[in-house]
Subunit: 237 residues, 2 copies
DNA sequence: CACCCCAACTTGTCTAGACAAGTACAGGCG
DNA sequence: CGCCTGTACTTGTCTAGACAAGTTGGGGTG
């Protein structure tokens, strides 16, 4: 009564598993149809059926004469993608970051808007307060909190290329793998109006972001206020 | 130098012409694959390639053991979840959607905020105007534009489970694989204030979103206004 | 009449090839 | 050095079958 397993689905599932596991980097090529046919002991037709499904699902693209190109490493990533500040302000603008105050080592804020994990609660945290400029206009006010897992010397060393995420990744092996956020529109407070040079109650974009890292139970948290009159917050659009 | 005409495209065009001319009544069956192979002096494989294209374009459905059915009405099923509205409003809330006006088939808006691809420019578009409610409070005003790739019967058929993305994927093989967006905070206009029942100039979150699909050069576009006083816009946080 | 079973027909899956057409790269030529 | 060209490799199209599996309808049986 068992239904015969369909080969092209087996191949499809196998490749999909590898793709979501990140076995093939984005932009790289899958093995050719002939190679796959050999690996799975079947014909090119059947392999092509599996590859067609992967195209339909958006995992790969195909290019005549070239091969099957991996389109995304992890289809499971959320829709709201995360990027650094320089990729986030729409268009080609000169971006710059200043610190409102030096990085501090402190307790987690009381009444923190994010729930902490048990791992994080027993640690103190690094706090960053930064202003981001596009073409010398202040566009973003960012408060960032990082659990202090041996990051003490970040207090004295500069960030690599000015990038927090690059520093965490290259110097501390903490990779950012996903991001969750809540979005609000709010009216500017007096302090924010002063920073952005705008009127009181000007609509600001307010984001609460939790970045998931490669270490379970460890996150980077950010609260961001954005002045979007001149510059949108974007990801690739 | 003439490129050899591709047989499956000839068959595809021939059938499409007959379908749009109403040669086959809705709900009736096309000639079987073997009959078509005979008519076009080719093999079943080639005929199947043409029929597969017609399914992708939404002209026909296929039923194992029965035949190729000319599209008319459709049933509801399936549970593929994509990041839709219900997952996007933070927390556990009863969500509901209403249409401000019926879905229309129209030209692309003049001065459209999104640049169109060549593929899209030659098509007309489906326009949706929807209000989203959380716990019976209006929280989102959404204008969506979909290039009309054989989606005409979306004008008369309901969305599967009320979900546009689910409908596009299951009924039209259009998978949403990525999203790009620009975010702004803006003050509510009179019209928006009326929809949300808020004061004029209340800060609203305004998003311009481009959804990439599994078909190159085809996108779904949305402009969204969100009232975030009571409900944040979130993804998983 | 109601029911079941079987035959004929349909689409789905798969094989084992062939040739066309696009791509990448090394090697030779100017 | 720059350019072209040939070759190996890739995907795209197509043939001529085979068997599996789902649907339909007719005929026989109770």
């Amino acid at each position: 009564m068992l239904t015969r397993p369909r080969q092209y689905l087996l191949i499809y599932e196998s490749l999909k598993t590898q793709l979501t596991a990140g076995v093939y980097p984005k932009g790289s090529l899958l093995p050719s149809e002939n190679e796959l046919a050999g690996q799975f002991q079947t014909t090119r037709t059947t392999v092509r059926q599996a590859l067609t499904e992967l195209v339909r699902d958006g995992y790969i693209e195909r290019q005549h004469g070239r091969g099957s190109i991996v389109r995304s490493e992890r289809q499971t990533l959320g829709l709201l993608s995360f990027q650094g500040f320089s990729e986030v302000v729409a268009g080609d603008h000169a971006v710059r970051t200043t610190f409102l105050k030096p990085i501090t080592l402190q307790d987690w804020p009381s009444a923190f808007v994010f729930p902490l994990t048990d791992t994080e609660r027993v640690l103190d945290c690094l706090a960053l307060e930064r202003i981001r400029y596009a073409d010398e206009h202040p566009v973003m006010l960012e408060y960032t909190f990082v659990p202090n897992v041996g990051l003490d010397d970040m207090l004295t060393n500069d960030l690599l290329d000015g990038s927090l995420f690059r520093t965490l990744h290259q110097r501390y092996q903490l990779a950012i793998i996903d991001m969750q956020q809540r979005l609000y529109a709010v009216g500017a407070t007096a302090r924010q109006a002063a920073v952005f040079g705008c009127a009181l109650h000007t609509p600001l974009l307010y984001m609460e972001r939790r970045y998931l890292t490669s270490r379970p139970g460890l996150h980077v948290y950010s609260q961001l206020y954005c002045h979007t009159d001149k510059y949108a917050i974007s990801n690739g659009l």
